[in-house]
Amino acid sequence: AQRVTQPEKLLSVFKGAPVELKCNYSYSGSPELFWYVQYSRQRLQLLLRHISRESIKGFTADLNKGETSFHLKKPFAQEEDSAMYYCALSLHGGATNKLIFGTGTLLAVQP
């Protein structure tokens, strides 16, 4: 069955420390993955997609098919990075076109 797992509900780090938010997926097809972020009192928004291989706000994520992972990383955390982060897997084919989300990780960056 298709599934997205984010094992950490909360990740607390100090400003300037490296950050890694874990995401593992289960999918028999070719995976297409995204990271979404929700800052306090703001709507859920797309952070990055694996297919673009981009760096957004200093964050990167590499798809590792061998480990079925798509961890989100940033070398130096900033206080403004504090937010809820969701990993999502795209399911598409035929009439199906939807995202499956993980349960989310709350990142708290301490001063």
Partner: protein, 111 residues
Amino acid sequence: SQTIHQWPATLVQPVGSPLSLECTVEGTSNPNLYWYRQAAGRGLQLLFYSVGIGQISSEVPQNLSASRPQDRQFILSSKKLLLSDSGFYLCAWMGNYNEQFFGPGTRLTVL
């Protein structure tokens, strides 16, 4: 540019009362539309999605229903609300690369 609206922003309803939440999209035609419920610690649960007018797919059995009377309008309804229907409801549309863009959400409290 595309925008997505949801209303109302907050709603307090008694148990057993009906519900109608509305979502509209501007700046795009024939979008795939989605209703999610977001709960703390449980991530985003996909409730319904629609690939066109009158076409609704239900993801989980529940007390809710959805309709798409117009191309850019998606409605979430209930005939009789339950306490367990309380939550934060998000509407989304799908872009060209399988990413989704979210509305501001509706906070529903059933008393």
